[in-house]
Symmetry: C2
Subunit: 454 residues, 2 copies
């Protein structure tokens, strides 16, 4: 197979062991871009020569016997709201056309330091909010890839690049990963610094990772995690061994809580209801349905208020100067945010800690929650990016969440299974996620022998 | 002399060395209370037997040869907004009359763990805001002691207790200390946990300490400092050696910046102008006048907005249920806070970091700022507690500040000299403060030989 189909973890290993050069790997990925980009449109900026030049330099570095980083020679896609010193960063907005930052965002700098090839910039919705970019779903070009990290999810799904980074302020990592059928991971709030990425909401913005396997998103998150003095929500910490823990066996089979969450009744589509019914059945004794209390129903409104207010504050200049160059949904959001009172905003922020305490007792009994990543499959049409509502509560709480492409709709489109962990328990969540993938794969192999292949 | 006149540091040493028992020390303090409390009215709650019982238990502890804490047997006054498990905590409000918390505030628990006798609860203004309590200035009963930590400052000034704790959200430690002629210290924001103390404003609330010397306030702050998981603004840290550093000689004489601050022109009274003129002259080469840029002028408004909003949020229930039992100034403040928009609030909070960066370059050259603690001497009248305006900027910035009773007005009333340090440079600030006290005392001794005694 072409090396473009490698997982990120495989690609890193093959380059490290000398079974393939970085230049060959990047060439294979570029060939895939040549073939699929006309349909998928995942990239805002991609300079073939610049990508290859980085790869050759890294091959030379290796040939000289120098120390290799954990991503040595592996190409990665960067959502176009992270500043890059070598590519433009346009935030998905005509207002910022031609913007060329001088400094890499902290996440980009950490990827470079780990030896990654910065392949190019992936398409984002306008300001990582609502208004879509040009990207289409690789599984069906008439459908949205999800957003706002549309290009990162689509590029990984289309094997144009084995890994990518994005951001989530509501459902912008988990939802596109689910719609495109890749693994997406949003670690605990504050784990990965957001310095040099577009600031929408300090309270809600998360950096997330995309890959083909749980190990992939774990490896990327491990490289990106850690204190940055310019991001006040990061904390000094030892490097988390996400990749090693994700690859390890749990001492006991994990216990899952099937948490439909307060939005299930209004939003879960039939495909989701059916698929999760089967999933819960397949997991048998490993899963228990748990209902959150009524107090969690307020979280969606609180999230909305925080997002509106903080975006209105942070995008104040763009709003004032940008006029019609800002989409109407964005202008409306900012206007709503300007109308919120400070005490209502503080009440919305003030709900985060108590609700996290509220789910603490459930996490004492269960390793992870299982819940949908989205209402259903990627919707038809390119004028919107689908509903983030199944991500909202977990973004508000700042809990780690990972989506796994474990199921399909009748149309053959991916459906994501979202697992949610306790804050700062990212490694355990990833380990539980990998256990789930392996266990279901075994079940399917057994099932297919009985003629019940999915 | 009666042991009630000891500094906190002396009292701790005398008890530790066995030159006086805790019971004798507390008895001497109680005798002073008997004599002066009718005029000063510093205490909200003081139970003689309960104080003596603690002292006797601590004496027994010592007699048994057990390990002694750094404040073993030393009585301390607690502002009546800190929860105490043995005394009521009424927050200076009739709404909370008879309130008896079951748990000590973190600061109180740390004092007990250090061996302190919790002498009693000192008078606070209503909710540590504007409306005065019963306390009078020990130097002149017709004048305010300042507020909101009125009783803590007055009790230390009147030798009723060698040390006390209070809080500052605007000028509530520095101002009463200055008006009463004691040393007051407001450490860096987040240094001392506020858990179990009345929450007015997470952004602005500080715990502070009162004593007779710089060493006293340093010792108290050292005992109180450090991480508390219930105060999100505290950070894990090693115990800061404030007392030792404060007692040490600086390697070089400190350099002071005389910062009149943007409020000088409108608020500094003639007594202050004259006294600071003389002080700057006396310090000669050790001080340079430095003017802050115009951007600091906004800080007073930003502080006001944050305080109004956060108090409106935190006192929402009291406002809703309390009605006429809340003073009119407090109700008005809450109503103003309810009218502030969230984006204006975020803009006010957003100014804190840039302004701290703005003074960073001055702190690269100077060890501390010298600035007034208040517009002038304690004003006449008991219907208000004086103007906190000379504290506002430093509370907003979260910088450490200490006031020293180094000067007097013509009426013989104390005038405070406020020293301000860089955030998290509390120890250096205290060392510079002690150097200033010693140096001016030497100068005065020389001056008095020439017949120029102050």
């Amino acid at each position: 197979m072409s090396s473009c189909a490698y997982s990120l973890t495989e690609a890193a290993e093959h380059v490290r062991e000398g079974r393939i050069t970085s230049a060959e790997l990047v060439q294979d990925c570029l060939a895939q871009v040549d073939e699929l980009e006309p349909a998928v449109q995942a990239w805002a900026f991609l300079d073939r020569e610049h990508a290859l030049m980085q790869a050759r330099a890294l091959d030379l570095h290796r040939a000289q016997g120098k120390a290799l980083g954990p991503l040595h020679g592996v190409p990665v896609g960067i959502k176009d709201i992270f500043d890059t010193s070598d590519y433009p960063t346009e935030l998905g907005s005509p207002l910022w056309a031609g913007r060329t930052p001088r400094r890499d965002a902290a996440a980009v700098a950490r990827l470079r330091a780990a030896g990654a090839v910065i392949m190019g910039k992936t398409v984002t919705t306008e300001y990582a909010y609502f208004h879509p970019g040009k990207t289409r779903n690789p599984h069906d070009p008439e459908r949205t890839p999800g957003g706002s990290s549309s290009g990162s999810a689509a590029a990984v799904a289309a094997h144009m690049v084995p890994g990518a980074i994005g951001t989530q302020t509501n459902g912008s990592v988990i939802r596109p990963a689910a719609f495109c059928g890749v693994v997406g991971f949003k670690p605990t709030h504050g784990l990965i610094p957001r310095t040099g990425a577009l600031l929408l909401s300090r309270t809600l913005d998360h950096v997330g990772t995309f890959g083909k396997t749980v190990e992939d998103v774990a490896l990327l998150a491990e490289i990106l995690a850690g204190y940055d003095e310019e991001d006040p929500d990061t904390r000094p910490m030892a490097r988390p061994p996400f990749a090693a823990v994700a690859a390890s066996e749990p001492p006991l089979p994990p216990r899952f809580a099937f948490v439909r969450s307060p939005v299930w009744d209004d939003y879960a589509e039939p495909a989701t209801r059916e698929a999760f019914g089967e999933l819960v059945e397949a997991l048998g004794e490993h899963v228990t349905q748990v209902d959150l209390g009524e107090s969690f129903g307020a979280a969606v409104d609180w999230h909305k208020k925080i997002m509106e207010v903080e975006m209105a504050y942070n995008l104040h200049r763009d709003y004032t100067k940008g006029g019609e160059q800002l989409s109407e949904p964005l202008r409306k959001l900012i206007e709503r945010g300007r109308g919120v009172s400070a005490v209502d905003y503080l009440a919305a922020v003030g709900g985060i800690s108590p609700l996290n305490e509220g789910i603490g007792s459930i996490f004492d009994e269960y390793d992870a929650f299982i819940t949908p990543a989205a209402p259903g499959e990627a919707p038809r049409g390119l004028s919107a990016t689908g509903n983030p509502i199944f991500c909202t509560l977990w973004t508000y709480l700042g809990t780690p969440a990972v989506t796994l492409p474990l199921m399909q709709s009748e149309a053959g489109l991916p459906l994501g299974v979202q697992l949610v962990g306790r804050r700062h328990n990212d490694a355990r969540l990833l380990r539980s996620a990998r256990w789930l993938v392996k266990t279901l794969a075994k079940g399917r192999r057994r099932g297919s022998r009985k003629g019940k292949s999915s």
